[in-house]
């Protein structure tokens, strides 16, 4: 398997917290991490390795509710997907907004469409439906389709 120095540095820094690594090519990789450490990992990527936050994707799978945080390292063209898996019954995770203003809107959106609760987000109001949708119904959850 290809080795990327960014991922080696991440593993060296966080050890067992980085659970699974999949390197597809020199510019595409995915790591699965412990959700409790998402802020620390994002801080390391953002401040130490100078990654840019692109966006995050929330999706429902057989494992639970997954969030893929997409980071880009523009000097090497690498897109690193940081994957966390949350329990469907307890979709709570720390907000990145304190670290990155860029995470503000997408966390509101994921809260709205998938029902993920972001702890310490400054304003978790609905972003795209302006409060018109029913409470507790999440259109991107398979159970609510």
């Amino acid at each position: 398997m290809l080795k990327l120095h960014e991922i080696e540095e991440l593993k060296e820094q966080f050890g067992e917290i980085v659970k699974e690594v999949h390197v597809r090519s020199e510019t595409r990789a995915t790591v699965t991490v412990d959700p409790a450490c998402i802020v620390d990992i994002s801080r390391f990527l953002f401040l130490d390795l100078h990654f840019r936050f692109i966006i995050a994707t929330a999706l429902e799978t057989t494992f639970g509710i997954e969030i893929l945080y997409h980071f880009s390292r523009d000097v090497s063209g690498l897109i690193l997907n940081v994957r966390v898996v949350l329990d469907k019954k307890n979709t709570e995770i720390e907000s990145l907004t304190g670290l990155l203003e860029a995470a503000n809107w997408i966390e509101r959106e994921m809260h709205e469409i998938m029902g993920i609760y972001f702890k310490n987000h400054p304003n978790l109001e609905k972003l795209i439906s302006d409060g018109n949708w029913a409470e507790g119904v999440y259109p991107y959850r398979e159970s609510d389709e």
């Binding site: 597809r24 510019t27 595409r28 995915t30 840019r52 936050f53 692109i54 966006i55 994707t57 999706l59 893929l68 997409h70 880009s72 523009d74 000097v75 063209g77 897109i79 997907n81 990155l100 203003e101 860029a102 503000n104 809107w105 997408i106 609905k126 972003l127 795209i128 439906s129 302006d130 259109p139 991107y140």
Partner: protein
């Protein structure tokens, strides 16, 4: 006493309907709040019910101006999942379409920026010179916009070699006119006064808000997906990333104007490349898309477009995430507008080139206490135009 100026939900400053509330004290903007969602079409969800071939037509309609940037990113994404290598001729054609789009989009923005400043000559010139580019699109694709050129593995239509001389001739005209326009805009002392030091975004702001495209490049952050994560024919041609350091509205205008020159050069090189390739070889054979996930991106005129797709071996996406550049760029308004005067807020809002809506419906200034109507959107634009005229005289 704070007063609120609501810009939107439908206003010529914005392509998509959004509501910006400027909280003003006197002439100075003290706070900005926004409401989105007026145009939420559920495209990501809709995509899950379309086959991969149909998704191209869907994502083409995410944006009416840069309508090829989303199919571009989606094609890159699907070709990553399927490990598909496309022919060089298709790479050149994709790049030509992408760069023609950048030229017409930037010309559109320059025109609008002129309009907001009260320089309607710039508006009319820019839109007049945009027409030959749209004519080229009509000749190549059959449409002035929404070109339907992309498919997994290549492009739907070839650019036949006999059309190349006419494209070259038109590009020479566009080059001459953009040089004229660039000189007129960048050397005008009144435009300097109205845009220099206005709506400044620092490097730290850009990094924190993860802004992209000309908005980032005008603040000294030289991010450009075409160079950083090369795709299509960009690695096959010579070009440079345009940056500026100042971060103000003038710098954003300069970056866009100079990028058009680079785009023309890229297209000319691609046309030379096309001559060497065999006509008709415009697509690779694609049998199936396997289970997996992929990320694709393309540099749209406004910045990086990002697509994420998860597949399950069927011909429908399981999850399709789309991030348009305005999603991150619009949030920088909070930094660029606060502390500016009302007359400068309009051009600061327009400077990131937010997507644009043709229908002006509401833009009224209210006294927050009495609710009395004071000024409408047309009057607000007239106020901005008046300031320019005062400076001229």
């Amino acid at each position: 006493m704070s007063r609120i100026i609501p810009i939107g939900p439908y206003h010529p400053l914005q392509e998509e309907p959004e509501l910006f509330k400027l909280y003003c004290e006197g002439e100075i903007v003290k706070d900005v709040k926004w409401e989105t969602g007026y145009n939420h079409r559920g495209i990501e969800k809709l995509s899950q019910s379309k086959t991969f071939d149909q998704v191209f037509f869907l994502v083409e309609r995410v944006c009416g101006i840069c309508s090829t940037s989303h199919p571009f990113a989606f094609a890159n994404c699907m070709e990553e999942i399927g490990d598909i290598e496309i022919p060089d001729r298709a790479k050149y054609i994709r790049t030509i379409i992408g760069e023609l789009e950048r030229i017409h989009s930037h010309l559109l923005w320059v025109g609008l920026a002129g309009h907001f400043l009260g320089y309607n000559t710039v508006f009319m010139w820019a839109w007049k010179y945009r027409e030959p580019v749209l004519d080229l699109f009509e000749m190549i694709t059959g449409n002035r916009n929404s070109y339907a050129m992309f498919k997994i593995g290549g492009v739907r239509r070839d650019i036949e070699n006999h059309k190349i001389p006419r494209i070259m001739e038109t590009l020479d005209i566009v080059r001459e006119k953009t040089d004229l326009l660039t000189g007129a805009v960048l050397d005008d002392p009144v435009i300097h006064v109205r845009t220099k030091g206005v709506g400044v975004l620092t490097k730290e702001d850009i990094i924190n808000y993860a802004a992209v495209g000309p908005t980032a490049r005008a603040s000294g952050i030289g991010t450009d997906v075409r160079r950083d994560d090369p795709y299509a024919a960009y690695p096959l041609v010579n070009w440079k990333v345009i940056t500026a350091e100042e971060g103000d509205v003038f710098a954003k205008a300069k970056v866009r104007l100079l990028e058009m020159v680079e785009s023309i050069s890229i297209i000319q090189q691609c046309l030379e490349g096309l001559k060497k390739e065999k006509e008709g070889e415009t697509e690779a054979v694609v049998k199936e898309i396997p289970e997996g996930m992929g990320t694709g991106r393309a540099e749209a005129p406004r910045g990086e477009v990002f697509h994420f797709v998860k597949t399950d071996g069927s011909n429908y996406p399981v999850r399709h995430k789309i991030r348009a550049p305005s999603y991150v760029n619009i949030a920088t308004f909070r930094k660029s507008c606060i502390g500016q005067s009302i007359t400068d807020a309009t051009i600061s809002l327009a400077a990131v080139d937010p997507c644009y809506c043709c229908t002006e419906r509401i833009a009224v200034l209210y006294d927050i206490c009495s609710g009395e109507k004071i000024m409408n959107g047309k009057e607000l634009l007239e106020l901005s135009a008046k300031r320019t005229w005062e400076m001229k005289s």
